[in-house]
């Protein structure tokens, strides 16, 4: 090329060299474009994380309740949810005042609007209302506006009109009175829930077991055989006992419920409609505009605790995500249990035992490529092979009494974990191989020279040195497993599975059960639910939780990797 520096350097005679550089040779515009690309990349990731963390962390913070009066005389009360700009269609501008119209005109037809969470779905028929900024006449924050979370129908925004404590009526109760009454109601609700979910459910489970026992006896000894008849008689006896106990419990629950219903609260919406409901139906309530910072923090904390430790409500859009969290963690543990031995053994074989050559490097390429095969392909394989073929056979051999309803012959925790194990095994193989390769040859030779056998060398010298590297691979596999959703949707994740894979009923672990998963929860609540807007806060918080989980695992992996590098530097000689 016509590089001036090169041409001037040619002559043999000493020439005056110019120290000034050529501006064009520096390619400043190109450097800028490249630098900008890097900055765009960095901004994308930091912006994304900042956005998710910001929105997720802020979701549970109690917002004030605004009472907005529009120019058309409409009054709404609600939490401001989010603000955006849009282009109104002409008919949306019809009610606006001339000044407002002129303003909109000046802004090229772009208008700001705010979404208010007005709640009261049972009264209004919708949870949200858009208010454009130009139609706002006044916005106030009355101190007596309460934000109430309920077990059903979503939140209620309005005033507390009356508290009815078993006949003792109290108009306009104070926050403290309400809280004291509510604390008792919560205890009652917990007791009813315990009776229903633990005791009665346990009896139902036992009855179902007895029924299956009869079927099993039928299948084993043939219907009508004396053994089957004996089993039937025994089961009938047991069932009668159980049913008697069930009656007693039912009675107890009914009476508790009757007592509970006498404690009620009457709420009044902004438009004057009232709603009376049992106190125990309220999850949480607070005067949104009359909170101290300490109270706000305690509500914030209580909401996080509720989120982590309770079951979901209202089609997953409210309540907690305990089953999804437990499902994800259990799956990750199962996955690592499955993937660790296989991955390590394969890597050991490839690196230490197999004869290095064209064939092994071909295998290595293939293993590498398998890490790039789309996860959904593994999901398809998991469904076809694990669920239908393996699971189907297991059902026929071990659970014939439950057929045709499948036990292992359908998607479930075990199959999902195995599918993900298969998906992540290449990751572990590659990581382990790298870790094994990084153990200096001299150490192996030293060990062998001392008379250790090959296995002794591997077990005592190589593996301990490679352990951090293997750990890194495992953690990365777990992180990948935690974030994968697509294959799980095929092999066992469901939108609602209140029964956890690990619980107090024998045999305590139920790996045949379908389960919930944080990633799928995001997809399901964000896209499949009735009211995706109402589910949005839930989705953002779940996203935050999932991202934290994945990032924590990755950060841990990086930490282990860095330690590994350091320990090599020490270990080398």
């Amino acid at each position: 090329m016509s590089d001036p520096t090169a041409t001037t350097a040619k002559p043999i005679l000493p020439v005056r060299r110019i120290a000034r550089s050529d501006l064009a040779a520096r390619g400043e515009p190109f450097v800028w474009i490249m630098g900008a690309a890097l900055v765009i990349g960095l901004t994308m990731i930091t912006g994304f994380l900042a956005f998710v963390i910001y929105v997720g962390a802020l979701t549970f913070w109690p917002q004030p309740v605004a009472v907005v009066t529009t120019t058309q005389g409409k009054v709404i009360a609600g939490e401001p949810f989010r603000t955006e700009t849009f282009k109104p269609r002409p008919e949306q501008l019809e009610g606006a005042s001339p000044e407002a119209r002129a303003q909109v005109e000046a802004d090229l037809g772009i208008v700001e609007r705010t979404l208010y969470r007005v709640g009261n779905y049972d009264l209004f028929g919708e949870d949200f209302a858009w208010v454009s900024t130009f139609e706002v006449k006044s916005t106030t924050y009355p101190k007596d506006m309460y934000f109430t979370e309920r077990l059903e129908w979503g939140p209620f925004v309005g005033r507390m009109k009356e508290l009815d404590a078993a006949g003792a009526k109290q108009a306009s109760p104070t926050y403290k009175q309400l809280r004291d009454a509510h604390a008792l109601a919560v205890v009652r609700r917990a007791e009813i829930a315990r009776l229903e979910k633990v005791e009665i459910a346990g009896i139902n489970h036992d009855i179902e077991d007895l029924r299956l026992g009869i079927r099993r006896a039928d299948l084993e000894y043939g219907a009508g055989s004396p053994e089957a008849a004996a089993a039937k008689a025994r089961a009938a006896e047991e069932t009668a006992k159980l049913e008697a106990r069930y009656k007693v419990l039912e009675q107890k629950v009914t009476s508790l419920r009757q007592i509970d219903e006498t404690y009620a609260v009457t709420l009044e919406a902004i438009d004057g409609q009232t709603k009376t409901l049992p106190l125990s139906n309220l999850v949480r309530f607070y005067p949104a505009n009359d909170l101290s910072v300490g109270e706000k923090w305690s509500i914030y904390g209580a909401r996080w605790i509720e989120f982590i430790t309770t079951q979901p409500r209202e089609a997953n859009t409210e309540g907690g995500i305990l089953p999804a969290l437990v499902g994800t963690l259990t799956m990750m543990i199962l996955l690592s249990l499955a993937v660790a031995p296989f991955g390590v053994v394969t890597a050991l074989y490839l690196r230490e035992y197999a004869k290095q050559g064209a064939f092994v490097s071909f295998i290595r390429i293939c293993v590498n490529n398998l890490a790039g095969v789309p996860s959904i392909v593994y999901g398809v394989f998991g469904l076809g092979f694990f669920c239908y073929i393996l699971g189907g056979s297991i059902d026929q051999i071990f659970f014939p009494e439950k057929l045709p309803s499948p036990t292992f012959g359908t998607g479930g925790m075990l199959w999902a974990s195995l599918t993900l194990a298969l998906l992540t095994v290449p990751v572990v193989i590659v990581a382990t191989e790298e870790a094994l390769a990084a153990v200096p040859r001299s150490m192996r030779e030293g060990s062998l020279a001392c008379g250790a056998s090959k296995w002794q060398t591997i077990a005592r010298i190589v593996l301990p040195r490679a352990a951090p590297g293997i750990m890194t691979g495992l953690i990365l596999a777990m992180a990948r497993g935690a974030g994968e959703v697509a294959p799980l949707m095929i092999v066992g994740v469901v939108k609602l599975a209140p029964e956890l894979p690990i619980d107090m009923t024998a045999p305590f672990v139920h790996f045949e059960r379908s389960f919930m998963h944080l990633g799928f929860h995001i997809y399901d609540v964000g896209f499949q639910s009735r009211n995706s807007e109402a589910g949005r806060p839930m989705v953002f918080v779940t996203t935050l939780l999932l991202i934290s989980l994945v990032l924590m695992l990755n950060a841990f992996a990086i930490y282990v990797r860095n330690r590994l590098k350091r320990s090599y530097q020490v270990g080398q000689f």
């Binding site: 520096t5 090169a6 350097a9 050529d22 501006l23 064009a24 040779a25 520096r26 390619g27 400043e28 450097v31 800028w32 474009i33 630098g35 900008a36 690309a37 890097l38 900055v39 990349g41 960095l42 901004t43 994308m44 990731i45 994304f48 998710v52 090229l108 772009i110 296989f342 394969t346 074989y349 230490e352 390429i365 293993v367 590498n368 790039g372 095969v373 789309p374 996860s375 959904i376 392909v377 593994y378 092979f385 298969l422 150490m443 030293g446 001392c450 056998s453 296995w455 992180a479 974030g483 959703v485 697509a486 949707m489 990633g519 799928f520 995001i522 997809y523 964000g526 995706s532 991202i547």
Partner: protein, 876 residues
């Protein structure tokens, strides 16, 4: 550790003492070693095998798609000679009883498993013998036409009732393992219950249609309406050549159960000779009557207006010299299957071609004609009630099972009972058997198994002409409301969608990732790099469900609202950056040197923010000025095409201007510049840039005007009607997943370029930029290529982002503002609903296989290139 263990005892011992060592290795050590060797070898091999089994398993599952059918067994029964040829056969869906109907109303029934005769009632036709017979496609509503001009409608049903096992009668004759009979009905044992199969018949009173004594020659019959208000429609042709369409509307009195019937007649003008009519065909709504002549002419009557039927079209379905010997409607009554005297088969249906030749614009078109010919004239065609399969019987007694849409011959059932041919064939209701009765009174039942008749390589990867379409197309439509609409399983729209998403996203990801990688590797100080690279790699760890969710719920409304701003941002950002770079040159060299490194990154950030702010401000203005105030409306075809062309042409005209200014902006000019003080040179450069920018804008404007004059419009191609969840949003989201991969791998490749190459170049006086572009980049090119390939592999397999951020519409449309459906998204959406081992299930496995092979090939190519590059880099 091992070192110290070995060393310690050696120090304690005096060197002179001969220490006797046990030379033999302990047996347990040897054993453990051997055990470890074998178990690791076996375990390792097994895991590798298991992983490779995936592909074989996928192949194994989808292989049956290409299989034809097979015959599971053949049974022969002697029915004894019949007094007249059979009109039709029927069999229930469990293949318990088969019946054959004669023109004199006699029904022969037998048990399918054993051939044992079953006594059933017969139609009392009052001693008459039917001169015409018609039945619906299911065969259970029938019509007889008689010599005296009357017709009688009736029902011939095989009904199955489930009863508890206890209620079964006791004195039954056992037929086989499953069935027993009391002579009139068959009881089949099913777990815990009994199924009772009976033959139920009903016959309505005669209705005089033709003039008294004028025989009915041909008829067709359809049964519609509801159970309480049946509507029977039939068309009859009498010996006088009169063609009548009749509707019999019956109202059943709820109290008495008796019906009153109202008849309405319409005469269809028929110009042909009645004796030459081969068949008349009617459809269930009764709005179309086809009169098929023996010479292959078809008169299509439009009877939508019942009172005034009109001849809509005359079509010729057979070439001269070939006669129509069999014709019938296919399931859903849109297509007709024509069998010729030369053994040929063709399928026709009406295509709306807006033709002037016919009164309603619809032209009867030969859609499928490439069927294998049978050795003799086709005598009978019977269609399946649930799929597009049909059987064709020829005069030599061969029965072939074919599939209409794929034109495939699935089975060739050989032979005939007596060589004289078959007279009544039927397709079992579940498509699992074919029954044929020979003229010698012998019946043949073939148990057939055709699980996937509708799939061939052609139907999966090629164009197929589906019913109701005006031409062969690629369609994916896996589920339809009814059996009448066949599933359409072409993978082409999905493969297209996969590459559409991948390519659009790569167009965003490659520039950002590559340029960022080059900058990180060559221009960023090592300490900044140690921060920057892990942050970019962090991007790769984000679960795709999160990216998809944010893309769909947050990004897509923003993109929709600010689409004009985003479109112009693609131009504004580079323009602002380049301008800023020339401004940067104005800084004195020491200041510029001082700011190089991390502070410069902030300068870039500021420039980008400025550009984004500028685009955001300019967006609405540009939208109003260029796109008639609404970009989305503009994409549908409103307003002028020129402004968009202008925006698109800017890069091209920029390149043109650069080439054109080359003679001025040459080495001499640059030498001249170099001798100037920096500030002056930088100002000259800035000025030059403004001129070049202005020139390229002007050129782009001129070119766009020119193109508009020529009549070119970008809309209809890659820009077309806007939908909210579109390829642009998906491209952004997938780019998010691709960038870290391409970035890391290409950065590694750049980093692996030996540093002495750089040093050499710099020592020769080249600038950093020159070293990068002339030394580092060419050396690392293959590594960068493999990075892009791996990025492509990732994009092709991405699932959740696509599921969430596109409308999942399987269409062949390059429009960046329209949705798409990828192979992976398709699997994800459809597999949870697919029934195990169904055609859809296997096709989805095929999708997975295609995806597997695609990514495996892409990754292998990338890996091979990368390994070659590593070798080369090591040699340098």
């Amino acid at each position: 550790m091992s070192q110290s263990d070995a060393g310690a005892p050696a120090e304690k011992r005096p060197a002179s003492v001969v220490y006797k060592r046990e030379k033999k290795t302990k047996a347990s050590v040897l054993f453990t070693d051997a055990l470890a060797r074998y178990s690791i070898t076996i375990g390792g091999t097994l895991v590798i095998l298991a992983v490779f089994t995936i592909m074989l398993f996928l192949l194994w599952v989808c292989w049956p798609l290409l299989d034809g059918g097979r015959v599971d067994g053949t049974r022969k029964f002697a029915l004894g000679p019949a007094s007249a040829p059979f009109l039709e056969s029927q069999m229930d869906e469990h293949q318990t009883i088969a019946v054959d109907l004669q023109p004199d109303g006699v029904i022969k029934a037998f048990h399918v498993g054993t051939g044992t005769p079953i006594e059933v009632p017969t139609f009392d036709l009052g001693g008459q013998v039917a001169t015409a017979f018609a039945s619906t496609l299911r065969g259970d509503d029938i019509l007889f036409g008689f010599q005296d001009g009357t017709i009688r409608t009736g029902k011939l049903n095989l009904t199955a009732q489930i009863t508890p096992a206890e209620q079964a009668p006791v004195d039954l004759r056992k037929l086989d393992e499953r069935d027993s009979t009391d002579g009139r009905q068959v009881f089949s044992r099913i777990p815990g219950q009994f199924r009772r199969t009976t033959v139920d018949i009903a016959l309505d009173a005669p209705v005089q249609i033709a003039d008294a004594g004028v025989a009915i020659l041909k008829a067709d019959y359809r049964f519609g309406g509801t159970a309480e208000r049946p509507l029977r429609t039939f068309v009859t042709l009498d010996a006088m050549g009169k063609l009548r369409l009749t509707q019999a509307y019956t109202e059943i009195n709820m109290m008495t159960g008796e019906g009153t019937t109202q008849l309405t007649n319409a005469e269809i003008p028929l110009t042909a000779v009645a004796a030459d009519v081969a068949k008349i065909l009617l459809n269930t709504p009764g709005d179309r009557v086809l009169v098929v002549m023996r010479d292959g002419k078809i008169y299509r009557y439009n009877t939508r207006n019942f009172a005034k039927p009109e001849l809509a079209e005359t079509a010729q379905v057979e070439p001269a010299g070939v006669q129509v010997t069999a014709i019938t409607y296919m399931n859903a009554e849109n297509s007709i299957i024509v069998g010729g005297s030369d053994g040929s088969i063709s399928i026709w249906f009406g295509v709306d071609r807006k033709s002037k030749e016919t009164t309603d614009g619809i032209v009867l078109t030969k859609v499928h004609g490439d069927f294998e010919k049978q050795p003799a004239a086709i005598t009978d065609i019977r269609v399946s009630q649930r799929t597009r399969m049909f059987t064709t019987t020829d005069a030599k007694g061969n029965v072939w099972v074919r599939h209409g849409t794929t034109e495939r011959t699935l089975l060739e059932l050989p032979g005939t009972p007596d060589g004289n041919g078959l007279q009544a064939t039927m397709f079992a209701p579940k498509d699992d058997g074919v029954l044929a009765v020979g003229k010698n009174g012998e019946a043949l039942l073939w148990k057939i198994n055709i699980p996937h008749p509708e799939t061939t390589l052609q139907s999966i990867f090629g164009k197929v002409w589906y019913e109701g379409y005006s031409e062969p197309t690629f369609v994916w439509q896996s589920t339809a409301g009814t059996d009448a609409v066949e599933p359409k399983l072409s993978l082409i729209p999905l493969i297209f969608g996969t590459f559409k998403a991948a390519i659009y996203s790569l167009m965003l990801a490659i520039p950002i990732a590559l340029l960022a990688a080059i900058y990180t590797s060559e221009f960023v100080p090592p300490r900044t790099r140690a921060v920057v690279k892990p942050v970019m790699e962090l991007m790769a760890t984000l679960p795709s469900v999160v990216i998809g969710f944010v893309a769909a719920l947050v990004l897509s409304p923003i993109v929709e609202n600010w689409i004009a701003a985003i479109v112009i941002a693609f131009g504004v950002i580079p323009l602002v950056l380049i301008t800023m770079s020339f401004l940067w040159q104005l800084l004195p060299q020491p200041v510029a040197n001082l700011l190089d490194g991390a502070p410069k990154l902030f300068a870039y950030l500021l420039a980008i923010l400025a550009a984004v702010w500028l685009s955001r401000q300019a967006g609405p203005i540009v939208e109003t000025a260029f796109f008639g105030g609404d970009f989305k409306k503009w994409t549908t075809g409103e307003g002028s095409a020129q402004p968009f062309l202008f925006l698109v042409l800017i890069p091209a005209s920029f390149v043109l201007v650069l080439i054109a200014t080359r003679p001025i902006y040459n080495a001499a000019y640059r030498l001249n510049l170099r001798d100037m003080p920096r500030i002056l040179a930088a100002s000259r450069e800035l000025f030059g840039w403004f001129i070049i920018a202005a020139l390229s804008l002007g050129l782009a404007w001129a070119l766009s005007m020119l193109l508009q004059e020529v009549g070119y419009d970008a809309r209809g191609g890659i820009v077309d009607t806007y939908v909210q969840r579109n390829a642009l949003v998906v491209a952004f989201a997938i780019a998010f997943a691709e960038i870290p991969i391409i970035y890391t791998i290409s950065e590694d490749a750049l980093n692996a370029v030996p540093s002495y190459l750089r040093s050499g170049s710099l020592a020769c006086g080249a600038s950093k930029w020159q070293t990068t572009s002339w030394i580092v980049l060419p050396t690392a090119a293959s590594g960068i290529f493999s990075a892009i390939m791996i990025g492509l592999g990732r994009a092709v397999g991405e699932t959740m982002i696509v599921v969430m951020a596109t409308g999942n519409t399987p269409i062949l449309d390059v429009n960046i503002f329209n949705g798409l459906r990828t192979l992976s998204a398709n699997i994800n959406v459809e597999l949870p609903e697919a029934v195990r081992d169904s055609t859809l299930y296997r096709t989805l496995f095929l999708c997975a296989l295609v995806l597997f092979v695609m990514t495996f090939v892409i990754n292998t190519v990338a890996e091979l290139v990368r390994q070659r590059y590593r070798k080369r880099a090591a040699q340098l």
